[in-house]
């Protein structure tokens, strides 16, 4: 294996690496000192823009550009940090927080410094009690040392950081539902415009970023945009926390340069398919992405390369399945998930997810026919990009992708049988 050095997970194997003392001893809070001591907020923002950092939450939106949308002169602005992480197949936020909570907090402070934000909320899914505890403890340690709170490092920059726990609802990861959740309302996405950069949390201009995006900022400020751009492709530099799960020998999170070939991730890092079986298909960007087959896995795992072949990187949740797994059963389970998690605010998503699930159940129990396949297609098309938030498209995309790529599997199910002979309730 190459001599690549992990960045975000470099303290994962360090003893007591989550504690402030160790963090400081290994270079921690140097970026914040540098920013406050030697850089203007605009210079920090420019460095992040120059680094071409793209959001790790799924859409890959350029972070510097996002920050630049906030009005400069607004007296009160917020940062909402997205640690909701609930899409089947993704778990890198959790691993990152467990490994290095201070790296996340330092990135948060740098964002707040650059954008002129005085209040940050880390929204963490309610199930992740351990992550919330680690973050709370890290914030308390940082506050005691003057990194968080009023007049940070005796400068004019003040910033409070709060942990806010969700309570079990996937939709809260959608950025405007997340804001509603913090505000104590039913977490249903808002219609846009206005965008959160103008009217966000508590009606104030708000940045929403994923925890891994913000953790990446720390080293961009510390080591510079040129260093960052030396890793991975120019269009999407930096490292990615690839989540490997499913039928691989060594499931886990692997930090590698963005654009690492999928084959290398599966075969070298995750140890290949277990139990002597062969690869069936790979879901490269968690539940909302289109599955890939063996002939496609030399693809570079970055936003653009995957979009070119009709799928998505998302937040890097790579689910590897062996040859025994039925794609329609897989789709049925994801359809059930989206049906359960649809917030019900728009009709195409609320009704469409129910229909998708029902149709796949029919096809998987041998009760379906060719007309069900056609209905699945037309319903999924009607959901795609026609809803208030992206959940509708998330639910539609893997279905449409599979209908295109595995027509023979749908045809076989429509004729009453699974080509892999997988029983209906396996």
């Amino acid at each position: 294996m190459s001599a690549f050095e992990p960045v975000l997970l470099r303290r994962a194997a360090v003893e007591r690496g989550t504690e402030l003392e160790v963090y400081e001893r290994t270079g921690g809070y140097q970026a914040l000192r540098k920013a406050i001591g030697a850089l203007t907020p605009q210079q920090v923002m420019d460095e992040v823009s120059a680094a071409n950092l793209r959001g790790r939450g799924g859409a890959g939106f350029p972070t510097g550009r996002k920050w630049s949308f906030l009005p400069k002169d607004a007296p009160l602005k917020y940062l909402a940090v997205n640690a909701d992480e609930s899409e089947p197949g993704t778990f890198n936020n959790r691993v990152l927080i467990d490994a290095d909570p201070h790296l996340v907090i330092e990135g948060i402070l740098l964002c707040c410094y650059a954008v002129g934000i005085s209040e940050a909320y880390i929204y963490i899914r309610g199930e992740n009690v351990q992550g919330a505890r680690l973050l709370e403890r890290a914030i308390a340690e940082a506050r005691a040392k003057g990194y968080v709170g009023k007049r940070i490092l005796r400068s004019g920059f003040s910033c409070q950081v709060h942990v806010f726990r969700g309570a079990g609802a996937y939709i809260c990861g959608e950025e405007t539902a997340l804001l509603e959740s913090i505000e104590g309302r039913r977490p249903q996405p808002r219609s846009r415009p206005p965008f959160p950069a103008v009217v966000g949390l508590f009606g104030k201009p708000t940045v929403i970023n994923n925890v891994a995006t913000l953790a990446s900022v720390t080293d961009i400020v510390d080591r510079g945009a040129d260093w960052f751009k030396s890793i991975g492709p120019a269009t999407a530099p930096g490292t990615m926390l690839y989540c490997m799960s499913g039928h691989v020998r060594r499931p886990g999170v692997y930090e590698r340069p963005m654009g690492t070939p999928l084959r290398e991730l599966i075969e070298e890092h995750a140890g290949g398919i277990r139990d002597g079986k062969r690869l069936g298909f790979v879901i490269p960007g968690a539940a909302a992405s289109t599955a890939l087959v063996e002939s496609e896995i030399d693809v570079a795992m970055d936003y653009d390369a995957l979009r070119e072949i009709g799928t998505e990187l998302g937040a890097g949740g790579i689910i590897v399945m062996d040859e025994s797994v039925c794609i329609l059963k897989t789709l049925e389970r994801f359809a059930k998930f989206f049906r359960h998690e649809s917030c019900g605010k728009c009709v195409p998503c609320r009704e469409g997810t129910v229909w998708q699930h029902r149709l796949l159940e029919r096809l998987n129990t041998g009760l379906g026919g060719a007309s069900d396949v056609a209905t699945l297609k037309s319903i999924s098309e009607q959901m795609n990009a026609k809803t208030l938030c992206a959940l509708g498209s998330f639910a539609a995309a893997p279905q449409l992708g599979a209908l295109r790529k595995f027509p023979e599997h749908f045809a076989a199910h429509a004729a009453g049988g699974c080509p892999l002979k997988v029983p209906a309730h396996a």
Binding site: E85, E183, S245, G246, M321
Partner: protein, 151 residues
């Protein structure tokens, strides 16, 4: 409601720019102190935050983690999403439920254990993944061993 619960609600009520924003923190405080969120306690939270009880109920009911009836002393959440399913989650659920003679979602009559199905808990590398009173475990394949451990 215990005095400590009341005090925690009063404490979070003043922490955010609006009282309403303290709703989830207050409900967590209730659940942590009282074990679950009863209708009466939810009403007390609504009152403290100046919300209509129906309004607070409408928010609380959206979320899956608040217990609206008393749970068992140990709550076992088994992820049954795709990756865990492919790694034996159904067999684990079946094993747990057979031993305890309950169905997923139920609590044993002696109030000892609740077993629930859960959507993905962000632990796919630990499949089949479980949370025991919200602490992560996995891979968990042996139902008997898990039950012995929590006994």
């Amino acid at each position: 409601m215990k005095p400590v619960t009341r005090a925690r609600i009063a404490d979070v009520a003043g922490r955010y720019p609006t009282k309403r924003a303290a709703l989830l923190p207050a409900l967590w405080a209730v659940q942590e102190e009282e074990g679950w969120v009863s209708a009466g306690d939810l009403e007390a939270v609504a009152h403290a935050l100046e919300l209509a009880p129906a309004d607070a109920e409408g928010v609380a009911s959206f979320y899956s983690l608040f217990h609206r009836s008393p749970p068992g002393r140990t709550v076992i959440d088994v992820c049954d999403n795709f990756v865990c399913q492919q790694n034996g989650a159904e067999a684990l659920l079946e094993g747990l439920c057979r031993r305890l003679a309950i169905r997923p979602g139920d609590t044993t009559p002696d109030g000892r254990v609740t077993v629930r199905r859960q959507e993905c808990i962000a632990a796919c590398h630990q499949a089949p993944a479980v949370q025991v009173n919200l602490e992560f475990r996995g891979p968990v394949t042996d139902a008997d061993a898990l039950l012995r451990e929590i006994a």
